[in-house]
């Protein structure tokens, strides 16, 4: 199990795939760990990518700072991992909290990247997200990791996924509960206490950027992704049908395919961002469809686009 060193802390990472060719670096969400990308590793390696995954500080097998961990620390850890990949086209993807870390890295080090994928991500805390974050933190404090999971499961996954898991839910929760420590999770959450919006800095992201947003994402709704789309110069927003916040878990095959196709398009010079809006297919390999230009993609009710 290899580790990187950030000061006195160790960051556990994994590299898999060919030594030459492009690379994908994947950044975990708040309560996740590198093993959750296993299916992505397999799919992306099969398409010729070298894949790098790691546990953020405070997660999984990386060290868990006891009191303080800042988002800057996480960006530095991500940079250390990217440095391991040498000079090659590097694509960076992150989900939710990991998407924010990826955005911050891309703002600071756009020149190191060939492309960016922000999934269920945000650059600012809307009042809803701020209050939800506070409530989730209180839930963690009062009820522990297990209660936090109870809140997140129905919020972030669809009935279609939850239904078959209902009888097995305690086992599903136990695995995540084992991996996460209350104080370490709390430190990660408290790295938002002095959070300042990074929206004004998004213009510094000079690489093609695909923004993935679940159709029914409750935690980070369309408006937060719209802000990314509008401020990142070479962006495209892709809406994942029937998906919630945790679509990387629920629709792993489709998402891995979208990641690979994005990178392949960028490398082939076929990528067209242009702040466009797309609808992803239901299954891997299907065609992306442009969002109807006469409809408002921010609304659930069909509404004609309001000219700006």
């Amino acid at each position: 199990m290899p580790f990187l060193a950030h000061g006195s802390y160790r960051i556990r990472y994994e590299l898999e795939g060919p030594d030459d060719g492009p690379a994908y670096v994947l950044v975990n969400g708040l309560t996740q760990y590198a093993e959750l990308w296993a299916g992505y590793r397999t799919a992306l390696v099969a398409r010729g990518f070298r894949v790098a995954t790691f546990d953020l500080l405070g997660q999984g097998a990386s060290d868990k700072p006891s009191l303080f961990v800042s988002q800057d620390d996480q960006v530095t850890a991500l940079g250390l991992l990217i440095d391991q990949l040498g000079r090659r086209p590097i694509f960076l993807g992150g989900i939710s909290f990991g998407g924010l870390i990826a955005l911050r890295y891309a703002i600071a080090c756009s020149h190191r990247l060939a492309g960016l994928v922000a999934m269920s991500s945000f650059a600012e805390l809307s009042p809803q997200l701020l209050l939800l974050g506070n409530a989730l933190r209180t839930g963690l404090i009062l009820g522990g990791t297990s209660y936090l999971q109870d809140l997140l499961l129905p919020m972030n996954l669809s009935d279609a996924w939850l239904g078959p898991q209902l009888a097995n839910l305690e086992a599903v929760k136990r695995q995540g509960w084992l991996t996460n420590d209350v104080y370490a999770l709390q430190n990660l959450m408290e790295s938002f206490l002095d959070f300042q919006p990074i929206t004004p800095q998004l213009g510094a992201i000079a690489v093609p950027t695909m923004i993935l947003n679940g159709e029914f994402d409750f935690l980070t709704p369309r408006s937060l992704h719209e802000s990314l789309r509008l401020h990142i110069p070479d962006s495209a927003l892709v809406i994942i049908p029937h998906a919630y916040h945790a679509f990387t878990l629920e629709k792993a095959e489709l998402t891995a395919d979208l990641l690979a196709r994005f990178a392949e398009d960028v490398l082939a010079g076929k990528w067209k961002g242009g702040k466009s809006v797309w609808i992803a297919p239901d299954e891997a390999g299907g065609a992306l469809v442009p969002f109807p230009s006469d409809q408002d993609h921010l609304r659930a009710i069909p509404r004609a686009t309001v000219p700006t």
């Binding site: 199990m1 006195s8 556990r12 969400g29 708040l30 309560t31 996740q32 760990y33 093993e35 959750l36 296993a38 999984g60 097998a61 990386s62 060290d63 868990k64 700072p65 006891s66 009191l67 303080f68 939710s96 909290f97 269920s120 404090i141 009062l142 522990g144 990791t145 936090l148 999971q149 997140l152 499961l153 972030n156 996954l157 898991q165 086992a171 599903v172 136990r174 695995q175 995540g176 509960w177 084992l178 991996t179 420590d181 209350v182 104080y183 370490a184 709390q186 408290e190 935690l219 980070t220 916040h245 945790a246 878990l249 629920e250």
Partner: protein, 214 residues
């Protein structure tokens, strides 16, 4: 060497030797915290977080009492030596970089509390098939759950505005106590055939596959 307690007996109970060692360790650690809090509390009557400390004093005592009653004890000739070494480890330590001895001792108590409540996860040692209604199993679950709440007193204090000028010293003190507690806990577990993972926790028996969180 495996990542959890056991093997379980036919009805799902933890072996008594493992119960004895785990309970002895936890009683030593939480008992030490209760004693140190008893000495610290009178000095902190004006502090806003003394309400939390007062509650914690009683909860630590409750944990000791619970383990005494819920454990199926057995004779373990190594226990006296082990307990002696643990008790020495919990003794107050100086906090480097702080000349205010009263403040330093309060920080050390809080650092030890943070480590005991944060780095020790007794319920994570329980196998899936452990008998849910067994008193020892229930006790470990309760201790871990309560630890997640009790650590809030330490977090409030150690991350509070009052200690911001001493942030590096505080951080070092807490990290040192975490390392110490993790090592002692790991050594104790090793002595009863339980392996630790890289993060200091027991090694999960299955690889996690789902975590639907942000």
């Amino acid at each position: 060497m495996i990542g959890s307690l056991g093997p379980l007996d036919p009805i799902g109970r933890i072996p008594t030797r493992q119960q004895t060692r785990v309970a002895a360790f936890l009683i030593s650690a939480h008992g030490a915290l209760a004693r140190q809090l008893a000495f610290t509390l009178p000095r902190q009557m004006s502090a806003s977080w003394q309400t939390e400390l007062n509650a914690q004093f009683y909860r630590e005592s409750e944990i000791v009492s619970l383990l005494v009653r819920a454990t199926s004890w057995t004779v373990d000739l190594e226990i006296p030596m082990l307990v002696a070494s643990w008790e020495v480890a919990w003794l107050p330590r100086p906090v480097s970089g702080l000349s205010d001895r009263a403040l330093a001792s309060t920080i050390d108590v809080a650092a030890l509390g943070h480590a005991v409540h944060g780095a020790i996860r007794p319920a994570a040692l329980l196998p899936d098939k452990a008998l849910a209604q067994d008193p020892f199993v229930m006790a470990l679950r309760r201790i871990e759950f309560e630890s997640g709440r009790m650590i809030q007193a330490q977090i409030l204090f150690l991350k509070g505005q009052d200690l911001l000028p001493y942030r590096d010293a505080v951080n070092t003190a807490v990290e040192d106590r975490h390392r110490q507690v993790r090592d002692l806990w790991g050594d104790m577990l090793k002595g009863i055939g339980v392996e630790r993972g890289a993060s200091g926790q027991a090694v999960p028996s299955t690889i996690p596959r789902h975590e639907p969180n942000p």
